[in-house]
């Protein structure tokens, strides 16, 4: 169940991430190991766009200390972060 949920999140994230990408990429070539800066050419403005989209879609909030490089540059780690936030909300 958890694996399915993460897989869905990754699919959604990749679609969102590609919309802001500065490099032309095919979403089919991307996966959980995709790095936003290195692979998609993200700048800080693109990150901001993505954060806004993630917060809107999942109703989660990135606090100051959570906006760490390790949380944001990798699709896999962003997916883990979202999954953790959703689980916390579910557990009440």
């Amino acid at each position: 169940m958890r694996a399915e949920m993460k897989s869905e999140i990754i699919d959604d994230l990749l679609k969102m991430a590609v919309k802001n990408a500065r490099k032309v990429v095919d979403v089919k070539e991307l996966g959980e190991r995709t790095l936003l800066i290195e692979d998609l050419g993200y700048d800080s403005i693109d990150f901001m766009e993505l954060i806004i989209q993630i917060e809107g879609k999942y109703d989660v909030e990135f606090g100051g200390t959570e906006i760490l490089l390790s949380n944001l540059n990798s699709i896999n780690i962003i997916a883990d972060f979202i999954q953790k936030k959703l689980q916390e909300r579910k557990d009440g």
Partner: protein, 415 residues
């Protein structure tokens, strides 16, 4: 901020950057034994003098060669300390360092990264080369419009205001002294307010409450303060409540007095460790400002105690000019002759009479006349053309006892 990120950047610096690895040898420090914030404090405190002397050895060795060398961008510090330093950033690290600032702008002030804004610059660089300015304004792209702070006078400020009205920015990134000049010009000439303006971000100088209030009241929009430096980018910014919150994703901040870290609530020198600059790491680096750390809603706050106060040059037409116009000639000297001006300080004694103090690299002592000519020819301020410049050369220029900083401009006319 987690300890892991701090330890990672410290280990990287002490292993990959000759300046730090030499320090480790000198102080007999084993970086692998530094595993938490508790023993992080054994690492030496660094200041700008040490960085200047460290020269290219302050750059990470991996950035000496391709492909890393192609990712480098260079910034110049000229700040109120009056000490010149080239700062190297990896483009990708620069992006990472700014994410939290953008997050705060959006969340607390509704400013979107694609909103239009105006800013002011002293010198502009393109592909790391100093750009000669042909105009007072520079449109970098469709969303930003920059204005040179050189050769300002009342007529030019009116011209800037007109261009702002045409451009219709949503926000301004501006130093308090420049915001005041724009405000005074608009008041004096009964110019209308900027229609779409929703936000002003003030940075680069100590922000006095009275100045902030007058800017907020006049422009009738949200005003926030941002504290940072070129070495680390943003250190702290506001979140709508007047407090400066530390950017924990970008910097680790310590307050130090007499070499010892002081607890929250106590005043001391601000030292920062950049968590994102890997090309030229800054580990326990003195900013030159003083402050007090605190906590609010579980987040670390910073109160600035003594920062960069704005002072104005008075020209022969009694115009107030921002002191930034002196940065341009210094940058020209260092750009064209190599980095030979280590420190500078300019004092206005009376209308059209200035003392210029330089501390230069001793091996260039035969270049004084060239330095002086380059300085005067690059001021580019018509109303200072008749000024008399008295040059003095010192081994070192020392910070003011009261401010704790070496102010690079001081007006001693008593006005």
């Amino acid at each position: 901020m987690d300890d892991a990120q701090l330890m990672q950047v410290a280990r990287y610096a002490y292993k990959e950057v000759p300046f730090y690895s030499n320090l480790a040898k000198e102080k007999n420090i084993c970086i692998d034994s530094i595993k938490s914030k508790e023993n992080f404090i054994v690492l030496p405190l660094i200041n700008k003098d040490m960085f200047q002397k460290g020269n290219r050895y302050t750059l990470s060795e991996r950035y000496y060669s391709y492909p890393y060398s192609s990712r480098i961008m260079i910034r110049r510090t000229s700040g109120s300390t009056g000490k010149y330093l080239k700062i190297y950033w990896d483009f990708q690290d620069d992006i990472r360092s700014l994410i939290e600032l953008w997050y705060n702008r959006k969340k607390y002030y509704g400013i979107h990264p694609r909103d239009k804004y105006c800013f002011f610059y002293t010198t502009e660089y393109n592909a790391n080369k100093l750009v000669e300015e042909a105009d007072t304004s520079l449109a970098i792209d469709k969303r930003s419009l920059g204005f040179s702070k050189n050769d300002l006078n009342k007529a030019k400020i009116i011209e800037i205001c007109k261009k702002m009205y045409e451009f219709d920015p949503v926000y301004l990134l501006v130093q308090p002294s420049m915001a005041v000049l724009i405000m005074e010009c608009m008041k004096e000439n009964r110019l209308p307010r900027l229609r779409s303006l929703r936000y002003i971000e003030l940075t680069g100088e100590m922000l006095l409450d009275t100045v902030r209030d007058s800017i907020e009241n006049f422009f009738n929009c949200a005003v926030s303060n941002q504290y940072g430096c070129n070495e680390t980018n943003c250190i702290a910014s506001e979140r709508g409540d007047g407090e400066l919150y530390i950017h924990a994703s970008n910097v680790y901040v310590e307050i130090i007095r007499n070499g010892i870290v002081v607890p929250d609530g106590e005043c001391g020198d601000i030292y920062v460790t950049s968590l994102t600059n890997y090309a030229m790491p800054f580990i326990r680096y003195k900013t030159g400002d003083q402050g007090i750390l605190g906590k609010k809603d579980g987040r670390q706050t910073l109160t600035l105690v003594k920062g960069r106060e704005s002072q104005f040059i008075i020209d022969e037409e009694r115009n107030k000019l921002p002191f930034y116009i002196f940065i341009r000639p210094i940058e020209h000297i260092n750009e064209h002759l190599g980095t030979i001006v280590n420190q500078f300080q300019i004092v206005q004694l009376s209308i059209n009479r200035f003392i210029v103090r330089f501390s230069i690299n001793p091996s260039y002592s035969g270049w004084k006349k060239t330095i002086e000519n380059l300085f005067i020819s690059n001021i580019k301020q018509a109303t200072l053309e008749n000024a008399e410049w008295v040059f003095e050369y010192k081994d070192n220029l020392y910070p003011d006892n009261f401010t704790g900083k070496l102010s690079y401009f001081s007006n001693e006319m008593g006005e």
